[in-house]
Point group: C2
Chain length 527, copies 2
């Protein structure tokens, strides 16, 4: 069997990495290279001339994708095969069908499993459509608060902020996620509870933070003399403890084959996005995501944007040994998109075993972080330019602003200055600068790539979201790991229960369990 | 001369790092260790039993601090010696006196330079006090928008959010930072311009993003028939282009010996914090920072909290070879504090030369990132527990919530669950878990430390801020680098100007300068 570490292309890439392209050399980064090293699809351009790859590197990377059979895996995933598993060990053993959530347009999947998932998704989609129209017609509720954590929070929040420029009038949107009681306390102060809908999101219906916040919210509503049942919406699995029409105004369903971090296009993001932006924009967002699903599924070679991006990431991570990757959107609207991608990538690919249960002998998921540019330039870019650990950048930019309100200042507009800064960073990082003053020396050879589009609208946002979902999946396929489970969060959960038990003892006036949990008790004593 | 790389203690630490303490071994992490490995000051506790340090390691780390003379450097810094320099090369050659901004309480510095800086700071402090009282008495303005980028944005925003629970009634606070015109467009939609003060913050008065946003804001105000001069406040250097009473309602001064990322306690943070929280809370915040300055200055050994933290960070970074560090506050109010620390640390210590101008032969500043817990547990913690690159955690927690609104749910409160999760993560990461199912195996030995306090109030926030400022400074002193300049941002700025020129050509209908800037033109063509 071919594994990532012994694939022939991997060995070739290892050789190439001993002397990677030197972008600081005269004649390495040329106008011709910049023009040639770009590819596009759906109006998105991927520019990668400032990555440290030669044509030979790219060829070896695509060979790797063939050797690891990633196209077949993408086909299998979208068709609903049970890719979420570890062979030979108990595991979730599920299909991975977030793509079915938006397979509502042209070229639908034909496999029975995927078709069935799409039929269910369509049912919820239509249910949401009529429910939202009802809410809009009644014109009573002005405010929606999403209550969820992890995938039920980061993705919906990131996309909401990304598209807030197109928000319907008189809509107020908030999020409560943390079990920290100050999170809910802060939000309830900012809303008129009588006009607020709370969307409680938990697939299992048993997420501790979300259940706890729901209890707080019910309490706040009751204190105001309001009936929680008239203000709470459930987004949950059918048959979960939260699937209860006596306790919620409405329920929308999600399924175990849609992982939390891949659930933005499901009802997890759907209810709040449709309320905030209107149902049509939500549908356009899904359509954008679906079209990128098609690119991931059908394109071969450079036209497969997420595959190309995944290969470049693998080159940086495994062959150039760069431990992190920074997402830098030159768009303030994408301020929380890096936090979503941080979850998407790190929870998916932060794994230490392959799908056969073997410990991997290579690095998997990089540490993903980032903030918008130009802000980052006035913050951590010092380290990116002159620090000792190079950081590859995934830059995102747009030709036009969302509001289109701009001004010439010193003969250029703000949007032009924004774009100028974006390209300036990619160029500066790659070519560097020589200087006799050592503090003004820039070593260069710091890789970046740029995803560029016309404007951040709902359709484009869907495409970018899906682009990243598939970049992450392709990386997992290349490494041969399971990008769809999260066993690594279980130990902390179990120990948190043990710590909580000690607080319960304390609340009941009982002694702490020193014998049963000596380490825990020592921590609690010490504070 | 003793350098970091050849200090006797460094060589001893290198030896120790070949076999660092194995926290997964029976008897390594004991209740006794947990109780012993903690230190406190000002009500802040630092728990470090879950770092991979033995007593021998700690001894060697403190020897290193003696060999590198870091105490003398801290004394010199707070006394106003010109530490911001590279010897033998042109450099900023300035004092580093952010501590003077809050040296307004007991035990003031006696050196003439520091006293002079404090006298100026006190002048602005008193000016702000009477100005804020005037604004409050007039009761006209309800809203303040801070317009600044980098240190003029991240720190003030992080601290404002941290203390928002104590906000004065009827105050609305916003921030505009990005040159992206959508940033300003979004904020002006959310405010009543007639009741809004804009604080324009730029030390030089020439920060491109801030000048551009100021122009946009003046335009928005004029469009509403409002006089910008009655709505704009300047925070800038005396004599800068922004120091102009004809164009601003009021001016507050800052000085070149206060770096942007160290400027929260100066008028950069002062105006908006005093408006939002009231002047007294701002003063308490300064007092907390000042008291921690005294600890950094006067304590030797373990009682010097920021020094101990700096040494632990150096151990993780240089001897255990861990490239990043994650800041995980178990407090939603600290949601943007990691972004501030990201700037503080990465801009300060992301350096490739020492203060003599030599290229360093060791790693400097780590990549700093983070999000609040428990949220992170539902996101990137999968990689922290089971990924291939260990990530040290700097956990922050509090015994009490800010609002004190809580509920018993399943017999424990939200705040108790929050604390339970905090300790559970530190414990799980250190001891790990054996399992016959490879997916349920946790390797452990992933270091963390915990900064714990009673409650996140203004005084404590000041102490925590100053704790980190000095942690960063001590790291820089240990490495022998200049933590106070940022030459690494210059190349990108220069190239951005070149790109902007091309847009100016375009705006004037002139051809792009293909001959003068072929690479730039190729980028602009290609999109």
């Amino acid at each position: 069997m071919v594994y990532f570490h012994n694939a022939p292309a991997s060995l070739r890439l290892k050789e190439l990495a001993k002397k990677p392209l030197d972008l600081t050399q005269e004649g390495a980064l040329t106008p011709e290279r910049i023009r040639a090293m770009r590819t596009d699809g759906m109006g998105l351009e991927l520019l990668y001339a400032t990555e440290r790859v030669s044509h030979e590197t790219l060829e070896a990377l695509f060979s790797l994708s063939l050797e690891m059979g990633v196209h077949d895996k993408m086909v299998a995933m979208q068709a609903g095969e049970k890719l979420n598993c570890i062979h030979g060990y108990p595991s979730e053993n599920r299909a991975v069908l977030h793509t079915a959530m938006r397979d509502l347009f042209e070229h639908p999947q034909s496999s029975p499993v995927a078709s069935q998932a799409t039929a269910l998704a369509r049912r919820e989609f239509e249910k949401l459509k009529s429910w939202i129209h009802g809410v809009e017609a009644a014109a009573h509720f002005t405010t929606m608060v999403q209550v969820g954590i992890g995938g039920s929070d980061l993705g919906p929040k990131a996309i909401y902020l990304a598209l807030r420029a197109f928000q319907r009038p008189k809509r107020h949107i908030h999020f409560i996620s943390n079990v920290d009681p100050d999170d809910a306390a802060q939000v309830v102060r900012e809303v008129d509870l009588s006009k607020t809908l709370f969307v409680i999101v938990s697939k299992s219906g048993t997420t501790l933070e979300t259940n706890t916040n729901e209890a707080l919210i019910r309490h706040y509503l009751e204190e105001e003399g309001l009936d929680p049942r008239k203000h709470l919406i459930a987004v949950t699995g059918e048959g979960s403890p939260m699937d209860d029409p006596l306790r919620y105004l409405a329920s929308f369903y999600i399924w175990d084959y849609v992982g939390g971090r891949y659930s933005v296009t499901s009802m997890v993001g759907g209810v709040i996005l449709a309320f905030a932006l209107g149902f049509d924009l939500y549908a356009q967002f899904l359509k954008g995501a679906h079209e990128m699903d098609q690119i991931a599924l059908k394109e071969r070679g450079f036209k497969n944007l997420p595959l190309l991006a995944a290969l470049l990431s693998i080159w940086n991570r495994n062959f150039l040994d760069l431990p992190t990757s920074a997402i830098i959107p030159y768009s303030q609207a994408l301020s929380r998109f890096p936090a979503h991608l941080q979850q998407l990538e790190m929870e998916s690919n932060g794994k230490r075993i392959d799908q056969e249960g073997n410990s991997v002998s290579f690095e998997t998921g990089a540490i993903i972080w980032g903030e918008p540019g130009t802000n980052g330039q006035h913050s951590f870019f010092q380290l990116i330019h002159q620090g000792t650990t190079p950081i590859p950048l995934e830059i995102i930019g747009f030709r036009k602003s969302q509001y289109g309100e701009d001004l010439l200042y010193q003969e250029s507009s703000s949007q032009q200055k924004l774009i100028a800064n974006l390209f300036a960073q990619a160029l500066a990082l790659s070519v560097g600068q020589k200087s006799s003053n050592p503090n003004q020396l820039f070593p260069g050879n710091r890789p970046s790539r740029i995803l560029f589009a016309e404007k951040l609208d709902a359709h484009t946002m869907g495409a970018i979201l899906s682009f990243y979902e598939h970049q992450v999946a392709f990386q997992g396929f290349l490494w041969g790991i399971n990008s769809f489970d999260q066993e690594g969060v279980q130990l902390g959960k179990r120990l948190a229960t043990e710590f909580t038990k000690q607080f319960v003892h304390k609340n009941k006036g009982e002694p702490l369990d020193i014998r049963g949990f000596p380490l825990g008790v020592a921590f609690l004593e010490s504070i």
